[in-house]
């Protein structure tokens, strides 16, 4: 007992010396661009034939982590829960972030997981990454039918302070704090920017509008340097990749997969079209008469509007 405790302290100490550690949790998503996506005759997605890629929101989270690397030389670990084919998606993530370590949590038992069970796997996975994380990043949400719950739930399970909708952040290494700007809705007003400061460690769900800003030549040169390193690393991404199953991340079987999922998707339905409350005239054609008709209707509409 005593020895392990000392070991743990030693590891913690080493981590602090090693600098800044960040983790990113990412998600594999179908590529919805034309030419890559396939549909079944009934209009549902043909998952087997559709190419899978790093989800766009995940990519933004990865970019946000890269900012910590450029500015603070942070060590980046990226983790995902997915099938063995998710490897190439981790490679994409490494190209974007020059990640030092890639983790794929893959096990049949994970199948059928809802957001809570997924968060459990990710929590266990992050704890297995081997460093004490200063920041964990997640995307805002996934684009293939997800609710934006995985991030906050993982944060909660890790016991980390959760900062959502972050559009910009700065780390203060000495003070061990993070300053973040969040896009929030205040008393019904959208797009209010809230600035907050929080002690590390924190869990950040990054807003889709996040864009890393580098304001000096030396920062930009560092950015280019790590990008080059990333391209080189990603060529041999398997060197950086560890694949773990449920027992390797010490996940409790009751908390993961179908067993750990309190919700199941019963049926997905199209949102029914709302009944139009306005009347529409269809003006069709390119001749002068039709165009004139359209213009006059627009004029009419504009004249009734009060523009402040």
């Amino acid at each position: 007992m005593v020895t392990t405790k000392i070991d743990k302290i030693a590891v913690l100490y080493l981590d602090m010396m090693a600098g800044f550690n960040v983790a990113v949790i990412v998600k594999l998503e179908p590529d919805f661009s034309e030419g890559n996506v396939s549909y079944n005759p009934d209009g549902t997605l043909n998952r087997a034939e559709t190419k899978n890629i790093l989800g766009p929101h995940s990519a933004i989270a990865v970019n946000a982590a890269f900012y910590a690397k450029v500015r603070h030389g942070a060590k980046i670990s990226i983790g995902t829960m997915g099938p063995p084919t998710a490897e190439s998606m981790l490679q994409q993530a490494q190209i974007l972030s020059d990640a030092d370590e890639l983790f794929l949590y893959s096990d049949r038992i994970f199948a059928g997981a809802d957001t809570l069970a997924t968060a459990e796997v990710l929590k266990c996975g992050i704890l297995k990454m081997g460093s004490k994380m200063d920041i964990v990043f997640s995307g805002h949400r996934a684009s293939d039918g997800e609710t934006g719950q995985t991030g906050p739930q993982t944060a909660w399970k890790l016991g980390m302070t959760f900062l959502g909708n972050v559009i910009e952040y700065e780390i203060n290494e000495q003070e061990r704090t993070v300053r973040a700007k969040r896009l929030v809705r205040l008393q019904g007003i959208y797009d209010v920017i809230e600035e907050i400061e929080a002690p590390l460690p924190v869990f950040i769900a990054i807003d889709p509008s996040y864009k890393a800003r580098f304001s000096t030549v030396s920062q930009r040169l560092a950015y280019e340097k790590y990008q080059r390193e990333a391209a080189a690393r990603a060529q041999n991404f398997k060197q950086y990749l560890k694949i773990f199953n449920a027992s390797q991340i010490e996940a409790d079987p009751k908390m993961i997969g179908i067993a750990g999922s309190p919700t199941i998707v019963y049926k997905v339905e199209r949102i029914p079209k709302g009944k139009a409350t306005r009347q529409a005239d269809v003006i069709d054609g390119q001749d002068a008469e039709q165009v004139a008709k359209a213009v006059s209707r627009i004029r009419q509409a504009l004249s009734t509007m009060v523009i402040k």
Partner: protein, 622 residues
Amino acid sequence: MEKYDVVIVGGGSAGLAALKQLSSLGKQAVLLEAGEKVGTKNISGGILYSKKPKKARVYNVEDIYENFLSDAPFERKITKYILHATSKDKVFSIDLTAAHNYEANFGCSVLLGRLNRWFLQQADEAAQKTGGGVVPGVHVRSIRWEDGRTVVETDELEDIETKAVIAADGVNSEIAFLTGARKKFSPGQLYQGVKVIVKLPEDIMNQRFSIGQEEGAAYLFAGDVTLNHIGGGFLYTNRDTLSLGAVYHLDSLLENPSEPYDLVNALLRNPMISELVRDEVPVRGEVDKNLPKEEQMRIRFAVTKMIKTWTELRGSSLSRTQREKMIRDGKFGSAEEMDEQMASLRAQMAEKYGIKFETDYVEAEYGAKLVPDGKRCRMEMPYIKNVLFVGDAAGRGIFVGPRIEGLNVGIDDAARAASAVARALDRNDFSDDHMGRYYTQSLEESPYTHDMKAIDKDYLKIFLDAAKGVPKDIISSKYGMVVKMMSSNTLRSFAVGFANILGYDKLLPIIETADTYVKVPTEMAERLGKPVTASYTPTIPSIAERIAKLKYNDDPRSHIKVLKPKSEFMEKMITLCPTRCYFMEKDGVMIQHEGCIECGTCSEETDWRHPAGEKGISYQYG
């Protein structure tokens, strides 16, 4: 404020060469490029030459990049250089390969997107060793001098202090204008170049142009395809694309405005060119509108995917190197296996989705840019204070007959500027006397500068000799000097001597006329040419379709402001803007800047800036 010894503005071929050379000399330099990536804003014809002038040395591309010939992704070494005079369906050809080889080690076709990215890798690697490098996506706004310091201001980054600046920001240099180093170039000093990239599989190209794997052809066009403008057309073979373009004197275009795309279209419609660009093109069948929406979408996506697969596979199977690579990589057992797969894919496309295969041509990219005519606009003092100008920014380019050389000139300038700056750094003296004049002197010694001052009589002789096959009496005497020069032996040698005495200022009005570029070639074609017929009519995309294919990163703010909405010049821009950014409103000419491809044609009477970093046009081929 951060400090760097040298700041280079602009990452075209000239700026990159300056960075490589300075870094090789052990000096620290950072290069700032406005484009989101290096190579996305540059456009050329283009043939990159390496030269061995008799008079004095020049810095060639392989002097700056030692591994150029073994490693660089240039397209093809040009081994065949032919001028085609056109009149309707008739073409008369004159072999000018000797002129192409004149004082040349080699001349290769290049696509700047690809080539500048390679230059970037080389230059950047060298620059990192001295703590420098390349920063793309940064637009330099101005340079200010205060308290003995030189400060570079950008739209994106904090100010940078530096000791010397190399301005390689191209023909529309803001640095030149803002610092007062020179006035904007006027239309009389400029040419407008418009170009399209046409896709053509490698094997088909080799066969059609009768060239081997390691050879290339450059065709030049004059005659009726010029639509009566001073200048001409070109068609260069790249690896698996063709560069087809038109370069016309801006003055001549202002006098008698033609839409730039019509000038390219005139080339495409010429039967000889139609045949050269011809290819097999899959055409989508109509999707049955009665099918459920989902099914329609599924079919549309499947068709896109199939066409993409087929096009890629066909490109590889019709390229020896790619074919061999695919077989080596185990993707296919043999070439026959590839052919079989193509055939079955093709059958499937036709049967299942009603895709038809038609004869047409495939256009990949449309672009335009001004070209400075060094004879008329090279800066005689290519510096101001501690800022040295190189390449197009200094108005340096050789424009003689079919010769358009800006790439090699810019590289030579860059090497000279790098030496001048390195010397100044060693002695810590950046004064006009020490650095600017030294650079100017070095440029004066460049044989290229000589070519911008006077015609090279040996070159002229080769040129005239090539035309000696034209019978003496073929063209009526009304066309004056040029024809006489070409059609008579005595006159030829007289012309050479004559050209030498006169110099450009007297010679240009005689040579650079519609006679030379339009009437004489047209008449030659009519009287001597062979008829060529086209087997199809190319489907030429509209300008809207061409613009739709380009990649832009929109900037909501306009980088161009119209200053004189009612001027004659601006009215002509409605016709002369290659992407139709100008239109007439009741208060005069207005701009819609979103489609601007930053060619610079409208620069003279506008407040013209390059867009902010990463914004604006992003060329794929260049």
